[in-house]
Amino acid sequence: MSAKLSVDESRCTGHGRCYTVAPKLLSDDDEGFVTLRGSSMEITDDQLDDAEEAVAACPERAITLTLDN
């Protein structure tokens, strides 16, 4: 199984909740946006909990986690 975390650039406005709840997984840039904004990353099994937390924390619903079996 593989998983992918994506941040929609048009929806993300830099609330910073994702990197606050999942600091090991995500980080902020100089403008306060998550560095993953507008792109995506592979998620390993042991990162899955953090990725789910990040998705749930976003008030703009800008983050998606897709699982491929």
Binding site: H15, G16, E31, P59
Partner: protein, 414 residues
């Protein structure tokens, strides 16, 4: 179309009509009761309490959706209560793409990384203020702490002298008093003074340029958000706006938070014993006590918004406050609940492209204020049984007298 016939049409079409005037001062917490009652009547209402009536959107889902539609709901209007531009504000009155360009310049100054750099100063100023108050055994939290703290930090953020805080504050208060549409003449005089203050700060930097990495105004002077250098008047307006946006809201948030904690010693003791919970607690307080409980918007084109026939030029009230207390989104919404799911989804800082620029600074200031305060003054109570009031338009507790035992700290061994 006259206002009366608009209201008649709304009423006939089944849209509930509200006559509630939200600009007036009310007993503490009454505004939230009114907002909840409006939401229970329906997700959309038509309010005719003001010279220009407006749509009200009251539930979480629709408020969030509208906040994310800047092309339909324009920031040419940012308050449904006072849609006319009493004060020039930037970048609030801009829409994308101009807004996006200006935010790119400003974001950097208010991002978490910038806020972290300011932390030693925030801590020091906070501790100084609390140490000054502690031996007194009591204070009006609102005027003695909650407004002085963010005023000093605002000046520090802009690399302006903190010693200007006191005189600055007097003029700032005059502007805040006018939020509900009263005292406009005095507010205009103070606005002129404040703008003059920033104008002078700009002139000083034009004569003697400062480091654009650490000096806000110097950075704005060399920035070109739309490919053009920023106008001097716009720089003044940005400084003025940051001041309006950052000072009253922080004071107000501290007022509601300390009121809650004064009446809930159990929660206060729990948080004092486990200070690592303060950031989460502040987040839940922000949800529970929205101060900017409404964002205004101007409808840019005729649109059917979930069955509501909105017309170009209509004004819309996006109910941030009622959304925060929407039971469909947050269960038992009027309760403080640290374990709440989706606690960070509150709309107290708005959402969409105009989400509060200062949100990271605000969170940081609030967390430091409550953490440091409770290290030094863990126990206190309300020092009055009088009815307390909140200002309309943008909520703020008028005063919050607290008292505490001074021997508690005098005998401490630390």
């Amino acid at each position: 179309m006259t206002e009366t016939s608009e209201t008649e049409i709304m009423s006939a079409s089944g849209c509930p009509v509200s006559h509630t005037d939200y600009t007036v001062q009310r007993p503490l917490f009454e505004t939230y009761e009114l907002l909840a009652a409006e939401r229970e009547r329906g997700p959309f209402l038509w309010n005719d309490s003001r010279p220009r009536p407006f749509w009200m959107i009251t539930d979480y889902e629709h408020v969030l959706e509208a906040l994310q539609m800047p092309d339909v709901f324009s920031n040419e209007v940012i308050s449904a209560l006072t849609p006319e531009h009493t004060f020039d504000l930037l970048p609030q009155y801009l829409d994308p793409p101009e807004h996006t360009a200006m935010r790119r310049v400003l974001n950097r100054w208010f991002a978490p990384a910038a806020v972290r750099r300011l932390e030693p100063l925030v801590l020091r100023r906070c501790d100084e203020l609390i140490d000054e108050l502690r031996p007194k055994g009591g204070c009006d939290l609102v005027s003695d702490f909650a407004i002085r703290f963010p005023t000093d930090l605002f000046l520090a953020t802009l690399n302006l002298p903190i010693s200007d805080g006191a005189v600055f504050l007097e003029h700032v208060e005059n502007v805040f008093k006018s939020f509900a549409g009263r005292g406009l003449k005095q507010a205009a005089i103070s606005t002129e003074w404040i703008r003059g203050y920033f104008d002078q700060a700009i002139a000083e930097r034009e004569r003697e340029p400062q480091d654009t990495e650490t000096d806000f105004i110097s950075r704005l002077l060399v920035s070109a958000p739309g490919g053009e250098p920023m106008q001097r008047e716009d720089i003044i307006t940005i400084c003025y706006t940051a001041m309006l946006a950052g000072l009253d809201t922080t004071r107000s948030a501290l007022g509601y938070i300390f009121h809650h904690l004064a009446l809930d010693p159990e929660l206060r003791h729990r948080l004092t014993a486990r200070p690592e919970l303060w950031p989460k607690a502040v987040e839940e307080f922000l949800r529970l006590y929205p101060l900017v409980y409404m964002d205004g918007r101007l409808v840019t084109r005729d649109i059917d918004f979930h069955g509501m026939p909105m017309r170009k030029g209509n004004i819309v009230w996006l109910g941030l406050g009622s959304a925060n207390h929407d039971p469909e989104k947050f269960s038992d919404p009027r309760a403080f609940d640290l374990e709440r799911e989706q606690l960070s989804h509150h709309l107290s800082f708005g959402a969409g492209p105009h989400r509060c620029l200062g949100m990271h600074l605000a969170r940081h200031e609030l967390v430091i204020a409550v953490t440091e305060w409770h290290k030094r003054i863990p126990d206190y109570e309300l020092a009055t049984t009088d009815q307390l009031y909140e200002r309309g338009a943008q909520l703020s507790i008028n005063r919050l007298p607290l008292r505490w035992e001074t021997q508690d700290w005098e005998t401490e061994s630390q």
